[in-house]
Structure formats: C-alpha cells, structure tokens
C-alpha cells in the first residue's frame, strides 16, 4: 500500500466523489419528481394517455442504463440536443430512475384504502389536498423501504456515467489507477466512498420510516 498516493490524488478523488454525489442527488430528486408526476397522471388520466405512460415505463425499464446514456449523449446532437457530460448524465439519470419511482408511487397509491379518499371528498377536500395531506404521508409507510432500496442501487449506477467522461468517482479512480499502475489503493477508496453513500442512505431511510410510522406506534 502506498499511502502517499492518496495525498497526490486526494483532491481529484474528492472532486470525483463530489460529482458522483451531485449527479446522484439531483438525478434521484428529479427521478422522484418525474416518477411521482407519472404516477399521478396515471391515476387521473384517460385510457390512451395511460397506455402511453405504460409504454414509457416498459421501454425505460426494459433497456440498459448505459444504452440510454449513449443515445442521449451521442445521439442527442442529431436531434439538436447538445449537452455537456454532467448535464447529460444527470438528465439520463432522471429518465432512467423515473419509471421505477413511478411504479413505487403507483403501488403506494393503491395501498391507501378507498374509504379514506371518499371521506376526504365528503368533507369537500380538493383532490390535490387529498394527495398531499392524506395519501402521500400515509403511502410513505409503504414506500420508504423500496425507495431507500432503489436509491441505494442508484448510488452505484452513477459509475456508468464515466463512459461519457463525466469526471465522477470511477472516472477519477481509473485515471489514478492507469497513471500509477496501482489497483488496490484506488479501488479500495472507491469502495469506501460508495459504502459511505449507502450507509448514509439507509440511515436516512430508517429515520424517515420511524417518522412516518409514528402514528402506528404512539398510543395515549
């Protein structure tokens, strides 16, 4: 083990970690928002649009992330969509994650008893208020675990962004490896970084789960 390598490549690795975290967080939040929008549309829309949404979900889920990234980054310019690596990476990340998030939310919607929605309609609550105040807080009980799961999967999917030269963690690690002909040192630190992200995510998931299931445990 040559620890002085870390002094030399430390800044680059930290920068790579920063890019990874940025792509992951922005991509995940974007994916969650888009996925939630799809799930809401799916719930309230007419049959033809529903069919279209289903097709979107099937196509995105049915193709590898790397192919989607290639099509967006290298194919995009043919349609006038020229993006830098990082925005392209984030955008493709949002698209890639959205159908999975949409399916998680769809399951969440279905888990809320219909009677509760009817009771809300009877007192005159608007559909959007019902969603934000009644449905969403309760569905978190059911969807926090699958959401956490998928966010953990996504932490490691960020590595694929290196193929379009996004200067993220794997990209920096590979640079370090090829410049110094070392492998243990760079990939050890790479694993530690991913592991830290996963631990943080599952910790956050547990906190959220504890928060949203309060009413099921607390009794007066």
């Amino acid at each position: 083990m040559e620890f002085d390598l870390y002094l030399r490549y430390g800044p680059a690795l930290l920068h790579g970690f920063g890019v990874t975290v940025l792509c992951w967080i922005v991509g995940s939040i974007g994916g969650i928002v888009l996925g939630f929008a799809i799930a809401c549309l799916y719930r309230w829309t007419s049959r033809p649009l529903r069919w279209l949404l289903q097709a979107y979900i099937e196509v995105i889920r049915g193709t590898p992330f790397m192919i989607q990234l290639f099509i967006l980054y290298y194919g995009g310019p043919h349609f006038g969509l020229v993006l830098d690596p990082v925005p392209a990476g984030i955008l493709s990340f949002i698209i890639y994650g959205s159908p999975y998030f949409a399916e998680i939310f769809r399951g969440g919607f279905n888990a809320i008893p219909r009677g509760q929605i009817e009771a809300a309609r009877c007192v005159g609550l608007a559909e959007w208020t019902i969603t934000t105040r009644i449905t969403l807080p309760q569905m978190l009980v059911f969807i926090t675990a699958p959401l956490t799961n998928f966010l953990i999967i996504l932490t490691k999917e960020t590595a694929i962004l290196s193929v379009v030269t996004v200067p993220e963690l794997l990209y920096q690690t590979q640079t370090m490896a090829s410049e110094t002909f070392t492998y243990i040192e760079p990939f050890l630190v790479l694993s530690l970084f991913y592991w830290a992200m996963v631990v943080a995510t599952s910790w956050l998931g547990e906190r959220v789960e504890a928060r949203v299931t309060r009413h099921l445990r607390r009794a007066y």
Partner: protein, 268 residues
C-alpha cells in the same frame, strides 16, 4: 316565530325523482322517488344488496346516478343542468355541494396519521379556510359534542370502534352540514359499543339535524326515525312512519318476511 318554525320543518331539502343507477347491466336502483324534509330522520332498511347504500351514496354523488334527478334545495346534485348526455359538474362545484352534506361510513374511514383533533380540524382548515386557532376551537367543540373531549390528541389506532365512529361523526358535523348521511354506522361495532354511537345520533336528531340512516338497528329505526323506507331489489317499496312498519302487520309481503327474521331474533 312559532309559525316560522313549523313551516321550516315542512321545507323539503332533498328531492329525488325517477333516479336510477346501474353497475354495468345490473340495475342497483330503479326509478327512486323520495322527498327528505328538514329536521327529518329517515331510515333506509332492506335486505343486503337491495340498494340502500347505493341510494345513500347517490345523494352526495359518491356514486354518479345515471338517470333521473337528485336535487338539494333545487340544485341538481353532481350533474350540470341541461345538456344531453349529461356532463358532471366541475370538481370545485361538486365540492361546494358536498360540504353541505356530511357522511359517516361503516368503516369510520378516519385518517390514521392524524389525531382525533386533526381529523376533525382538517376540513375546517383546508375547506372552510378558518384560521388555525378558530379551527382547533371548533374541532374541540365538535369532539365535546360526541363526548370525546379527553381524546383530542389520540390517534385512531388508540381508540375503540365506538370512539372512532364518534370522531367520524364529529368530523362531519364540524362542517355544519344541512344533511347527514349514515351508511350502516354501527355495523362494524362490537354490540356493547353500538349504544354510544346511537346515543350521539339520537342527540343529533333531537337537535333537529336532517339525517338519512342506512341501518340494521331496527330499534333505532322504530324509535328515532320519522319515516322508514324499505328497499328491495333496487326499488323503494314503501316509505312510511315507523309505526306502520313495526306496529301492526305491514301491508307489503316483502317487508313482512324481512322483519320476520328480526322478530325471530327478538330484536324488534
């Protein structure tokens, strides 16, 4: 004043005319005609699947009826006037109609992530848009009315069935509806908890609330209702004062055989 009060009691709140409801090919309700007067307690009885609950749910458009009319003080419920085929009202208009009609369900349908107080206050805050302090005060007053002043901060999971149903009643009356609908409010309760809910309903009736109650509690129908409507196979067979159904032999054979099962259990 006395004259005014009498005429107010005769005021018709709901008129139902030739109303029908189909689920696919199945006719759940056929040509229902019904008037509901102010401060009246109307009980709907009849065998399972006779359309009692469907009729109740058509009154606030939880089920869109497909023929005929339901009017509340002259206003067509759920559908736009004119137009053929009919078009449903825009959501905001339907909400405006619904906030004057309270509903209580067999399964309570409280929101489990809210405390009793939050359950009652929610619509006061979000629909009536009252300031927080006033909404909370009114919600507490509504819970006081159903004798649950000491349970304001309890979550539904910590309440008995009877207490949950009373919270549900408080949630509805806090909106000051001019009509209350009850869909088998005691059917999901343990026998010893039925009384506390019925007592609250009796008190509401005594205070002049207009109530339509789908029920299997023949005692409540016999003693509290002003009129009892009997449904069978989606038709309104009869709608008369309770004495005519529970007193002497009822005229209609279907009513007789339905009540026979209750008499055998010594309920009536």
């Amino acid at each position: 004043m006395a004259v005014l009060a009498t005429s107010a009691c005769d005021e018709t709140i709901i008129t139902v005319r030739r109303m029908s409801k189909h689920f696919g090919d199945f006719a759940a309700l056929r040509d229902i005609d019904l008037d509901i007067r102010r401060s009246e307690v109307l009980c709907l009885i009849g065998p399972s699947g006779s359309g009692k609950s469907t009729l109740l749910r058509c009154l606030n458009f939880l089920e869109p009826y497909d023929r005929g009319e339901v009017r509340m003080r002259g206003q067509l419920i759920g559908w736009q006037e004119g137009n053929n085929p009919r078009r449903p009202l825009p959501p905001a208009k339907l909400r405006e109609q619904r906030r004057h009609i309270g509903m209580v369900f067999q399964q309570f349908n409280l929101w489990p992530h809210f405390t009793a107080l939050q359950n009652v206050a929610e619509a006061l805050l979000k629909v009536k848009k009252l300031p927080r302090g006033e909404a909370m005060a009114r919600a507490e007053a509504a819970l006081q009315k159903v004798n649950l002043r000491d349970k304001v901060n309890s979550y539904p999971s910590a309440l008995s069935g009877g207490q949950q149903q009373r919270v549900a009643i408080a949630r509805a009356i806090a909106m000051e509806p001019s009509l209350m609908l009850f869909d088998e409010p005691t059917s999901a309760l343990d026998p010893e908890l039925v009384g506390e809910v019925l007592n609250v309903m009796k008190q509401m009736a005594a205070e002049g609330m207009t109530m339509v109650v789908v029920t299997h509690e023949m005692g409540f129908a016999a003693h509290v209702a002003d009129r009892v409507a009997f449904l069978d196979h989606g038709r309104l067979v009869t709608c008369v004062p309770p004495a005519e159904i529970f007193g002497a032999e009822p005229a209609d054979a279907r009513v007789r055989s339905f009540l026979q099962t209750y008499r055998e259990r010594n309920v009536v």
